[in-house]
């Protein structure tokens, strides 16, 4: 879009994946060629150090690669990045890079796909309601079993491996964390999956996993204090922000193309101030998100947390992309709501990012806490009535009138 895509020249580009994006959306499956293109491009290895099979790309390169793939096909980007970035980071951060090399290697080579199973059916991202539990398989053995259901999870119908947030059934004397990450092989009989059709990002599979005393090796149960997980989950916020930015860039590029081609009422769209205003606002907003996204990617690549900044980015970028996609629909008119048109797909895709990971407003509360406002405090909403605003007012003639005794 402009000359500021630093590092983009050395980043992979994904022409085939982009060309198949409409088909990927329509069929609801990521074509095999996409996976080959991803593997060949080196994308899956960019985010990790060489000791676990990565190529240790620098921040600008990681950022440019995510941006490019998200622009090519947001559904493919989600599927690949949940696995190769988010899940691999969770395993390498909270697990043991030596022990779990056997899990990481196939994720980075593209042979296997991972899913991060957090949310359950009851209440979205509120871990207090989660019931999935890991417990020892038997009195003697060292292995574990996992039981519970995770739902509305990216990649879960298609994945080979799940990184599962679960409760630990603790034996007396165990004063470790109440929670663990369990790395669960999904290709086993006691695991059932189901797919859930979804509005956007349709290439990516989405759905639920039911664990019915499924087997987990002892080495693959990693106790983690739940507070510490936020650090790893911020990788998720980061890539979702890039998904939004890529969608917005594609929507703007389509709008610019359309504005240059289309003539309406004798006026080329490109020459109309109202269209120019929409393009300019979209451009400035995308750039604001991009610059922050590149900045925090560099922070994180350098080993710093930048968690609050990533939270701010995720909120802004995802809501911005919805606005940019809506403007693109408006510029395209009826074509923009026709199934199969790029802009129609982008409009559906954009909203998914606002909800995915942590929804914007949930994240705003976390950012506020990071600003020093303290944790969210709940008090029942019961203050309107005592404050004198809980009743409809009497009329102009007051109680007299209300009592039917006209003044």
């Amino acid at each position: 879009m402009n000359g500021d895509h630093r590092g983009i020249d050395t980043a992979p580009s994904f022409p085939g994946i982009a060309a198949r994006a409409a088909e990927t959306d329509a069929t609801g499956r990521i074509p095999l060629q996409n996976w080959k293109e991803l593997t060949d491009s080196g994308y899956l290895r960019l985010f990790h150090s060489p000791d676990i099979g990565g190529t240790g790309a620098d921040g600008p390169t990681q950022a440019a690669a995510m941006e490019a793939l998200a622009r090519a096909c947001a559904g493919t980007f989600w599927a690949a990045t949940v696995s190769a970035l988010l899940c691999a980071k969770l395993i390498s951060t909270y697990g043991d890079t030596r022990e779990h090399a056997r899990l990481l290697r196939p994720l980075l080579s593209g042979e296997r796909l991972a899913t991060f199973a957090v949310v359950e059916k009851t209440a979205g991202s509120d871990s207090g309601t989660f019931r999935t539990t890991v417990r020892p398989a038997g009195p003697a053995g060292s292995d574990f079993v996992i039981t519970g259901e995770k739902s509305r999870i990216a990649n879960s119908p298609a994945a080979d491996l799940a990184v599962v947030l679960a409760r630990r059934e603790k034996l007396p004397g165990d004063d470790g964390p109440d929670w663990c990450l369990a790395f669960v092989d999904l290709r086993q009989p006691r695991v059932q999956r189901y797919a859930i059709p979804h509005m956007g990002l349709r290439g990516m599979s989405w759905g639920g996993i039911v664990f019915d005393d499924a087997h987990v090796a002892a080495a693959d149960v990693v106790p983690v204090p739940i507070e510490e997980l936020a650090e790893g989950m911020a990788w998720g916020w980061l890539f979702i922000a890039f998904a939004a930015i890529g969608i917005a860039e594609s929507a703007l590029a389509a709008s610019v193309r359309h504005a240059r081609q289309r003539v309406s009422f004798g006026r080329p769209l490109a020459h109309m101030e109202g269209v120019q205003a929409q393009l300019a606002e979209s451009h400035a907003q995308i750039d604001a998100a991009r610059l922050l996204a590149h900045r925090v990617t560099c922070e994180r690549a350098a080993g710093r947390s930048a968690r609050d900044l990533i939270g701010m980015l995720k909120i802004y970028a995802t809501e911005m992309a919805v606005g940019v996609a809506a403007r693109a629909v408006q510029i395209h008119g009826a074509a923009g709501v026709t199934s199969g048109h790029e802009v129609e797909r982008l409009y559906r895709d954009a909203q998914m990012n606002v909800i995915g990971g942590f929804a914007s407003n949930r994240l705003r509360e976390q950012v506020a806490e990071g600003l020093g406002l303290g944790p969210a405090v709940y008090r029942a909403f019961d203050w309107v009535t005592p404050s004198g605003l809980g009743r409809d007012p009497v009329g102009l003639d007051g109680l007299v009138h209300a009592a039917g005794d006209g003044a």
Partner: protein, 393 residues
Amino acid sequence: MLSHTLANGAADADGGGLSLVEWARELAGRVVRPTAAERDRDRRWDQGIFAELSGARSGPGLAGPLVPRALGGGGLSATRTCALLEGLGDGGRDPGLALAVGVHAVLATVLLRAFGNPRQQRRYLPRMASGEWVGAVSLRQTQGAAHASTVTARPAAAGLGGWVLSGELDLVAGAPVAHHFLVIAAHDDGSRTAFVVDRTTPGLLINDVGPVAMRTCPWGQVMLDGCVVPEDAVLSTVGGAADEVEPLLAALDWVFLSAPWLGVMRALTRDAIADAREHHLFGRPVVHAQSARFTLADQAAQCELASGLLYRAAGQFDGGGRPSREDAAAARLFVAAAARAVTEGAARLPGALGTTGDHLIERAHRDALFFAETGGGTEVLRPVIAASLLGIG
């Protein structure tokens, strides 16, 4: 089509508001507008203007439209009063003065009409309706106890009867020129009572302190240093403010103090249309630019949308109907946002912010921010509306 739409969108249920908007606009254009910018600069209240508005010959006085005719008032409906205030805002181009008029003519008089006993009504309402006595209210006290009470009421010394009021109130609209004040005070048990407190009450002191905005409204801070008031200063029942006075006071603020802003929005929109025809950018008339046309179309729409909510809420006070706090709050929430949107849209047009003219855009921009915070602002209005929707709160 346009001028009709912009001027008369305020359809009046009882059929007379139409001309009333125009009448008040003409009056205010003659009496208020010429000095609005100058009084704003000097932070000045002009009692002569208030007298002229109160004693208008050709139509209802603006000091007591809702006071019954038998008590010397205009005996207008709430809808027609809303139209009067819309016209005042439109013609006068002075949100501060319109606020002062609205606080006196609606908030202060209606509370006495609705809750005053016959003695109180006879004492206060005729002189308020004529504009001789100004009634003042603190804008901190029009949202119930959303903010903690700053005035306490304790029984006067045994046997004397009456109450002792102590505390302070700021943002009192009308204070420097008021004859009496509406004061809501908290008892030790947390319940609250409304009082009418005369200015001459010993211990009552007025400081000359006001907000940055609405500079043409006479502002003051009222200090109550152990003011002893008689039993007859109580409005309605002791301890009953939360069920009686407060809900009405809030709704009156939400609806009637919004009405002048509908007028201001219409004035800004008309100005913007005229300006866009005059100014040029990049060598062409602003009015040819698509983005300017969009802005003007949206401004006109905001006026009509706001008008609908406002007159619905006002109309609910008429015909013995019981007003809805939800609809009153929705009207305020929308009008406050619309006033901001219209001001900003007008300011965005090239050439809008110059060094000449009466600077209505700049004054309205400043005052609209303040307006949006009074009546509780979004943080009070939204929970009130949500409480109705959700059936909780």
